[in-house]
């Protein structure tokens, strides 16, 4: 099927890419149907709202820039998307792209979790108090790299 997307205009997607957010995303509670699309620009994904071509969130797997990323979420949140174990789900952080691209950041305080099988998703609130809404991806990559050098 074809849908209109914010980053790439009209593109072909598969029903398998559909992700349902029964509670929406915080601040966008009325929008429930999204498609998960590979980004053509680096290690990202787009979460494109089906009904609103102008609404799309850029997602990233935090493990690509934080070496020891630990997803800590409430068991009840995991259960609410029908998952028993973390292995059965995908998790992402929403990315903010500002004017200055070097300041690209990821929100680790409000991760997105998705049930791999049923493709039901939810934005949850991290239980890890070290995580904030703004982690600068390029700076974190640099830190991770420095640590690697030190440990050699």
């Amino acid at each position: 099927m074809k849908i209109k997307t914010k980053p790439y205009g009209e593109i072909e997607v598969s029903e398998r890419q559909r992700i349902i957010f029964p509670e929406g995303i915080i601040g966008f509670e009325n929008i429930h149907q999204y498609f998960l699309i590979d980004s053509r620009e680096g290690p990202f994904y787009w979460l494109q709202a089906e009904e609103e071509p102008d609404l799309a969130f850029l997602l990233v797997n935090p493990r690509i820039f934080i070496e020891n990323y630990k997803l800590m979420v409430d068991k009840e949140d995991i259960k609410s998307i029908g998952v028993e174990h973390k292995k059965e789900m995908l998790d992402f952080a929403i990315v903010t792209v500002p004017e200055d691209p070097a300041k690209i950041s990821a929100n680790l305080m409000g991760p997105i979790i998705i049930n791999k099988k049923t493709r039901v998703g939810k934005q949850v609130i991290s239980k890890n108090n070290n995580y904030t809404v703004k982690h600068y991806i390029l700076e974190e990559m640099k830190k991770t790299k420095e640590k690697l050098v030190e440990s050699r």
Binding site: K6, P7, I25, I26, G27, F28, S39, E41, G42, P43, F44, L55, A56, F57, L58, D74, E76, D77, S80, I94, V95, T96, V97, P98, E99, P101, A102, I104, N107, M109, G110, Q123, I125, V133, K134, L138, M141, K142, K145
Partner: protein, 80 residues
Amino acid sequence: MLVLTRKVNESIMIGDDIEITVVEIKGDHVKLGITAPRNISIHRKEVYLAIQKENIIASRADIGKLSEIKDIIDRKEDKK
């Protein structure tokens, strides 16, 4: 807004199954205990608002900048 006065160890009930107890008062800090069903999510308001605000900023992502980011990341990967 309904305003109630409570002392330490006194509670209020919201519906049949949510209870909020004043556990401790120290200066301008009030410690609250909350008993609620597991499916009710409870968060500090500022955390919720911070996420909401960041989501709204994120939804306005400058797509044009993304190819620049790809270049920056690619360069970093090359250096490794």
